[in-house]
């Protein structure tokens, strides 16, 4: 299948690949999977507890090119954003930016899931006053 130039760019030069210390108090980790295809993605954020600003982000994705590009882009986008701003990132924006075709939409969903999961993990660690419905099923 034909990937867009932006996907190819992120695929060849993925930004922010790597990992951070999962047990560190200011690091949030999201590990998510796409049941449709069996691909997995891990995204980690490092958050300044005073300002709630995401200072660093890393990812590692085992999946298709679109998933790698989506997560690479996601790390770029979340950096410098506050937690609340990062939560507004929608998979449809990723689809648009990377010109993903309909069959690759689930790959962008994976990236949105990863951001949300990482933030949720971080919030849990902070014992946030307003827990993100961690018990909700």
């Amino acid at each position: 299948m034909a990937y867009s130039d932006k996907v190819i760019d992120h695929y060849n030069n993925p930004r922010n690949v790597g990992s951070m210390d999962k047990s560190s108090a200011d690091v949030g980790t999201g590990l998510v999977g796409a049941p449709e295809c069996g691909d997995v993605m891990k995204l980690q954020i490092k958050v300044n507890p005073q300002t709630n600003v995401i200072e660093d982000a890393k990812f590692k994705t085992f999946g298709c090119g679109s998933a790698i590009a989506s997560s690479s882009l996601a790390t770029e986008w979340v950096k410098g954003k506050t937690i609340d701003e990062a939560l507004t990132i929608k998979n449809t924006e990723i689809v648009k930016e990377l010109s993903l075709p309909p069959v690759k939409i689930h790959c962008s969903v994976l990236a949105e899931d990863a951001i949300r999961a990482a933030i949720c993990d971080w919030k849990k660690k902070q014992g946030a006053e307003k827990p993100v419905a961690a018990e909700a099923k």
Partner: protein
């Protein structure tokens, strides 16, 4: 209540016994050919199960019988057979035969058959993750991952090992301990992969028992069994990838 499946565009309820008559001789029509005059019939808008005369949609199929029916119908619908029939009949034969091929290919494969049935039940396997994400976004709640977190953890870890082994192999210095470890994992994964099919077959049994109890009585129970089947298929996707990737790395 009759629901329409977006995927197939056909009714998801088993059709009531078709009572139409043959377009040619007026006798009661059969599914594909008139029992009385033998002429091909226009394709009926039925699902694949009904196409093969299995309107109750049991999942445990007699595959040998399915194959036999397939070959028999293929033969009868073959263009050579209808070469002298009217253009309309030839067209119907062609349509029937293309549906026959799709139906057979879907039903003979255990996984495709299950996926197809789930779609008929209104479950869009490709959409499940996306809709869960949309729900999470709308409510601000945490999306529950569709497979157990342990499994994701395991998939991730094994992929890390594979990446390492791949890199080692590229340099021509594979660590024998890692090769052995990954080889062991391969066997275990293959076993699990087979085990998941067995698990799925158990749910088929549950499903067929429910079906035998009648169509209306047990919508909730049906949904519960359907959900179990969805779960197995999801987990199976991850294991399938691992088996594929582990094999590729070991053989590289």
């Amino acid at each position: 209540m009759t629901t329409k499946s977006a995927f197939t565009g056909i009714s998801t309820k088993p059709p009531a016994e078709e009572n139409h008559s043959c377009w040619s001789c007026g006798a009661m029509r059969a599914a594909h050919f008139c029992e009385s005059c033998g002429k091909v019939q226009p394709p009926a808008p039925v699902d694949y199960f009904a196409f093969f005369g299995l309107p109750r949609r049991q999942l445990n199929l007699d595959v040998a019988k399915l194959e036999k029916d397939f070959y028999e119908l293929s033969r009868k619908l073959h263009p050579d057979v209808s070469a002298r029939a009217s253009a309309q009949e030839q067209e119907w034969s062609l349509e029937q035969s293309s549906m026959l091929n799709d139906a057979y290919r879907t039903l003979r494969d255990p996984i495709k058959r299950t996926q197809y049935l789930l779609r008929l039940e209104g479950i869009e396997l490709e959409e499940q993750s996306k809709s869960a994400t949309e729900r999470a976004r709308a409510t601000g709640e945490t999306k529950k991952q569709i497979v157990p977190p342990d499994l994701l953890e395991e998939v991730f870890e094994l992929n890390m090992q594979l990446e390492e082994l791949r890199a080692q192999k590229k340099m021509g210095e594979d660590d024998p301990a890692l090769v052995e470890e990954v080889g062991r994992q391969k066997l275990e994964l293959e076993e699990r992969y087979d085990g998941l099919l067995e698990e799925l077959e158990n749910y088929w049994k549950e499903w067929d028992v429910l079906i035998d109890r009648g169509p209306e009585a047990n919508a909730e129970e049906r949904a519960a069994v359907a959900k179990k089947m969805v779960d197995v298929l999801n987990r199976r996707n991850y294991i399938r990838n691992l088996v594929r990737d582990v094999t590729a790395v070991l053989e590289s």
